[in-house]
């Protein structure tokens, strides 16, 4: 019985989602081995070896793994799969890209985005944009799983696993990385931020959205947006919180000018404390908010910025 866990990283730093996935893996039972596949990712392997509960880190270094391309990565995992009952990855865009491919090659049904582990073969996962929670039992010999980070606490760093270099698998040569267009920012990353300030359609314009950014910077928060704000061009795509965007669970989520469509709530309702600022007191966002302020946001936001 052992779990193979695919690490999420950028070749330099281990993403927090990995530590959260370790917590889920510990509930499945057995040794946890982390697979660090990347290009020059030795430092990441050292970080992964420190996570509580990790006994071994397998480090595969090759150009082909530098950008999380699904085809070579899936082939690498398939080569290792024989020794494991569970193959898990964080439900990041990278994990969601590669794990169904791995599952199909193993003739197993992938179990996506699990939010709880009820045993080695039984898991809970949200369906219908989080409007229902399904508990499913897998009958496959090998369980291939992605883990929703927002549902698990990060594992601590008291471990002392060993790091073992492993050989790369042959690259099938089906695809090639061209470029990343990553937004450079001093703000924390949305999915791992402890505080988030999000704006909705109520912001009215791209220029007005800067008020959200000012408030966020005052408290070291990440900036989010509803799909309505993104579709209206007020905020970039990767700000989007919701079922079709990012699923977040910060300690503090401040929703400004967001009505609270089901699709948005699905992305943030696991936040510890939710604050809603909206001039429409009937807005559904108030039904999930711990603290609601019925006010014009253009009046409230400058005051909030000053008070923080």
């Amino acid at each position: 019985m052992a779990v193979l866990l695919l690490a999420e990283h950028d070749n330099e730093t281990l993403n927090d989602a990995t530590a959260k996935t370790v917590t889920a893996a510990r509930a499945m039972g057995g040794d946890i081995h982390i697979l660090c596949a990347g290009s020059g990712c030795g430092g990441v392997a050292e970080q992964a070896a420190k996570l509580d509960g990790v006994t071994k880190v397998l480090c595969a270094t090759d150009e082909a793994y530098g950008h999380d391309m699904a085809e070579p990565l899936a082939d690498l995992i398939i080569g290792l799969a024989g020794d494991y009952d569970h193959i898990v990855a964080p439900a990041t865009t990278s994990g969601k890209n590669v794990m169904p491919r791995v599952a199909a090659l193993l003739d197993a049904m992938v179990i996506s985005d699990i939010s709880a582990v009820h045993g080695p073969d039984t898991f809970e996962r949200p369906i219908y944009a989080g409007n229902a929670m399904a508990t499913v039992k897998s009958t496959d010999a090998k369980k291939v799983i992605t883990v929703r980070g927002a549902s698990f606490d990060a594992a601590g760093e008291g471990g002392s696993g060993t790091v073992e270099e492993i050989a790369a698998a042959a690259n099938p040569g089906l695809s090639a990385w061209v470029e990343d267009k990553v937004v450079e920012s001093d703000r924390p990353e949305l999915t791992s931020a402890k505080r988030i300030v999000s704006g909705g359609r109520g912001m009215g314009s791209k220029e007005n959205f800067e008020i959200i950014e000012k408030v966020a910077d005052k408290i070291g928060a990440a900036v989010g947006a509803s799909r309505a704000a993104v579709d209206s061009g007020y905020a970039p795509n990767d700000y989007q919180v919701g079922q079709t965007g990012k699923v977040v669970a910060p300690e503090l989520y401040i929703a400004v000018g967001i009505s609270g469509a089901i699709q948005h709530l699905a992305g943030m309702k696991d936040s510890k404390v939710i604050v809603a600022i909206n001039k429409d007191e009937e807005a559904p966002i108030f039904q999930v908010a711990d603290y609601g302020l019925v006010a014009d946001l253009f009046d409230a936001l400058p005051k909030l910025e000053a008070a923080l």
């Binding site: 990041t92 890209n97 169904p100 199909a104 992938v110 219908y128 229902a132 508990t135 695809s175 603290y291």
Partner: protein, 253 residues
């Protein structure tokens, strides 16, 4: 080149989902059903490729209950050329798992030999986000998932993907499987004349047995529940009161 577009009939995205009292699933009786929104985007993209002279024929496929033919007719009315309905169950509550769907699609791809399979990145009912990746694996093809921009040049495609933190541009060999994200395009509405014309477009009916595929589920559903509800909060009177409560009561500032 032929383009194959799988489409799924799902609960309409505007309908409020209700969990059944016996926890066996979600109530689908007398509920409005529509084409999965991501699949509509895939159909639209295929039509645009045809309009640009990059595709000759668009084949749409749906795997599910007999009524999925409505979803196929809708795709035909948008501009697809012909349809294949695979009747895999007579119970709308029986969701055919992505692995079984991918196996049926593989058999259809082997028969039809499309140069491209375009599909939605996920169905809004089971939210698995898996069928495209699984089909690609079974075919031994490359996959270009979560596409927000697609450019096809000869035997390669350059695809911009929506990933955590921004965008990733990749280049894949053709044939390939592409799964589409929300911002790739805005699907057209079918015009009344096209809806009439769609009724005459060919639709073949098949079963999973025709393709030698067993659709028995690998995941058994133990129960389906309502998500835990959040407790109602308080309405504060001012920004000052809000900040005060966040500091002292909630302890998050």
């Amino acid at each position: 080149m032929k383009v194959l577009v799988p489409v799924k009939r799902v609960i309409d995205y505007n309908v409020k989902v209700r969990v059944k009292a016996d926890q066996s699933g979600v109530d689908l009786a007398n509920v409005k059903m529509s084409m999965n929104p991501f699949d509509e985007i895939a159909v639209e993209q295929a039509i645009r490729l045809k309009e640009a002279g990059q595709a000759e024929e668009i084949i749409v496929v749906s795997i599910g209950v007999t009524k999925s033919q409505e979803t196929l007719r809708n795709a035909l009315a948008m501009g697809a050329d012909r349809a294949i309905l695979v009747e895999a169950t007579d119970n709308v509550e029986n969701d055919i798992e992505p692995l079984a769907v991918a196996k049926i699609l593989k058999a259809i791809v082997d028969e039809e030999q499309p140069g491209l399979v375009l599909m939605g990145k996920q169905a809004i009912d089971n939210d698995m986000n898996a069928t495209g990746q699984m089909l690609s694996a079974l075919m031994g093809w490359p996959q270009a998932t979560f596409a927000s921009k697609v450019e096809i040049e000869g035997d390669r495609a350059q695809v911009t993907r929506e990933v955590d933190g921004g965008l990733q541009v990749i280049s894949v060999n053709m044939p390939c499987v592409m799964t589409v994200d929300l911002r790739l395009n805005e699907p057209r509405y079918a015009s009344l004349p096209n809806i009439m014309k769609a009724k005459k477009k060919p639709m073949e009916t098949k079963t999973p047995a025709d393709y030698g595929v067993d659709v028995s589920p690998r995941l058994t559903i133990e129960k389906v529940e309502e998500p835990p509800a959040r407790k109602a909060g308080v309405i504060v009177g001012s920004v000052e009161e809000l900040v005060e409560k966040l500091k002292t009561e909630a302890g998050v500032l």
